[in-house]
């Protein structure tokens, strides 16, 4: 009997918080740092007589997110009531676009197991409201024995976009790349901050296995993943669990399972799945998006990271790796381009940004918008290195100083005792060391004492002068070169 093989078939649903100032159907603030139950009103609390009024910006951010995923805007979409009873939902129903969404039919590219690009189809993005946040511990923080759950309705009515993929994903690695790509793209589009730590991006996965003997396991919905790592682990756990069942001839039940991040397992949800009944939301007539609006939003779309990275590789000569690092975050890519625009050589500017700038940002835990060294200044530093007004070592000294202090470039150069216009000290030593390294045979000849007439020494001296573009003093070159050759 040949061994059975299994192909995972995975679809992902991702909720992202759309970036707006107010909730989806009322004028309450979306501030996530507000004290509990301060951003509430009769609409998001579902009090009788209140009516939802759709936020224009939610529609626009939904369109932007959809466009970032290559989706098409639907001229007419609709809201439904999705009924279920749970304390996090004050109305007893969630208002959601469900299957008549504002954008549909897109894709995201990921790399398959062989490293080839593969399209994961995005079925649609629909708009809906978030539910309240529940705290299942006592108000004094006790978890055990607490008989009460606490509800914070600040989150109720926060605008969400739910992005539903087709079941085109075949591994946990593809799933994570899909999710990361999606996060990068919606951030670029300005549709969502998609901050995982703030619960602005949450994952559910549908996992089933196709068996080589023709059997196809039922679809299991795994819920409650709040990080890329959790998404990866939950899918891997579920694949293993289902494989075991199918290998022993069992049957995988169609069910909803809950991911427990602390225990690293999925378990069958104890909460009874009610009928998910939908009716058209009678308080919200169809959402009509005309061509003019679509055009306006299309014009707002920035260049997407993959397109941008391609441009860096083909037009600026960057490596794919460098281009990917720089375009990972839009602000970093914008910073890099501002450097280039200010006259820096792209390849060298790229090196500076990815090694020095990102290092300092990482060390200081700051955002690039708060970074002291403006792109124009970095461009000037890069240019001075090119013109040999600064050695690489000096440039790094200047850069580090400027990262830590509010100051202007010329003052720093003076303060650090770097003589401008002349090449001396460290800069000269660097040139000499490079020249010697590039001419090992000449070095060997001088050190063996064969250079009696000093011709070889003159040769090296000439190279150093040339490298310094005539900016070094000849006497200093002789002294420094003599010293270097003695080492």
């Amino acid at each position: 009997m040949s061994e059975l093989t299994f192909t995972p078939v995975i679809g992902i649903e991702i909720h992202i918080r759309l970036k707006t100032d107010t909730k989806i159907f009322c004028a309450c603030s979306t501030d996530t740092d507000a004290p509990a139950n301060t951003n509430i009103c009769p609409v998001c609390m579902g009090l009788p007589g209140s009516l939802p009024r759709l936020n224009h910006n939610v529609v626009e951010k939904g369109m932007l997110a959809g466009m970032a995923l290559h989706c098409t805007v639907q001229p007419r979409s609709l809201f439904f009531r999705k009924s279920y009873f749970y304390p996090d939902l004050p109305k007893g129903h969630q208002i959601s676009q469900c299957d008549l969404p504002v954008v549909a039919d897109g894709y995201i590219e990921v790399h398959d197991a062989e490293g080839k690009l593969k399209k994961i189809r995005v079925n649609h993005l629909h708009l809906e409201e978030d539910a309240a946040a529940m705290h299942h511990s006592a108000s004094d923080g006790r978890l055990e024995g607490a008989s009460t759950s606490y509800v914070d309705y600040n989150r109720a009515g926060m605008p969400l976009g739910e992005i539903v993929s087709e079941p085109d994903i075949s591994s946990s690695a593809e799933a994570v790349e899909y999710a990361m790509n999606l996060q990068r793209r919606v951030r670029y589009a300005g549709a969502s901050d998609a901050d995982l730590d703030k619960g602005m991006m949450r994952f559910d996965a549908n996992v089933s296995l196709k068996c080589s003997d023709g059997r196809w396991g039922r679809k299991v919905e795994v819920k409650n993943m709040n990080s890329f790592r959790a998404l990866e682990r939950a899918i891997e756990f579920e694949i293993k669990r289902q494989k075991k069942i199918l290998q022993s001839g069992g049957e995988v039940l169609q069910e909803t399972r809950h991911w427990n991040d602390a225990k690293g397992v999925t378990s069958a949800s104890r909460v009874k799945e009610f009928y998910r009944k939908f009716i058209v939301e009678p308080d919200l007539p169809p959402l009509i998006v005309n061509q003019e609006w679509i055009d306006r939003v299309t014009a707002m779309m920035p260049e997407m990271p993959d397109v941008r990275a391609n441009r860096y590789v083909h037009d600026m000569g960057l490596t794919q790796e460098a281009a990917d690092i720089l375009t990972d975050d839009k602000a970093t890519a914008d910073y890099f381009e501002a450097c280039v625009k200010a006259g820096a050589n792209p390849v060298r500017a790229a090196n500076w940004v990815r090694t020095e700038v990102l290092r300092v940002l990482n060390e200081t835990q700051k955002k690039i918008s708060e970074f002291r060294v403006k792109p124009e200044v970095l461009a000037e530093i890069v240019r001075r290195v090119d013109d040999r007004k600064l050695s690489t070592t000096q440039a790094k000294e200047v850069f580090d100083y400027m990262c830590a202090n509010d100051c202007v470039l010329d003052d720093v150069v003076k303060k650090l005792g770097i003589t401008e216009g002349g090449v001396a000290g460290n800069a000269l030593a660097e040139i000499i060391s490079n020249v010697i390294k590039a001419n090992p045979d000449v070095l060997a000849e001088i050190q063996s004492g064969k250079d009696t007439k000093g011709k070889k020494f003159k040769f090296l001296q000439g190279l150093v002068m040339k490298e310094s573009k005539g900016q070094a003093k000849p006497q200093e070159v002789v002294e420094a070169l003599t010293a270097a050759l003695k080492k």
């Binding site: 004028a27 603030s29 139950n37 108000s139």
Partner: protein, 96 residues
């Protein structure tokens, strides 16, 4: 289309209605009568007719994204007996 006794009972439960056996009998009869009327629509040729959802050709009115805090949040708290500090309380719901 006919709904079973069990289905009608499920719907009642979801609507938070506890029906007696007698009331359930009445509800089954009432709902199925109504469905019979709807069944008579099947005689109509509805090819190329969009599902009906709104009586008027309305467009969803939109609101500007501008914060306007509701001032009487205390009034909302007053609507509930189950308040603890700044939270609303519900019986503990286990879900891990």
């Amino acid at each position: 289309m006919k709904l079973s006794r069990e289905e009608v009972n499920d719907i009642a439960l979801e609507s938070r209605l506890l029906l007696t056996e007698k009331e359930l009998d009445g509800a089954v009869k009432y709902i199925n009568n109504f469905l019979d009327i709807l069944d008579s629509f099947k005689e109509l040729d509805l090819t190329n007719v969009e599902p009906f959802s709104f009586a008027e050709a309305l467009e969803c009115p939109l609101r500007e994204d501008k914060v306007k805090a509701f001032t009487n949040t205390q009034g909302i708290f007053n609507e509930s007996e189950h308040v603890d500090g700044s939270y609303f309380k519900v019986p503990r719901i286990m879900e891990d």
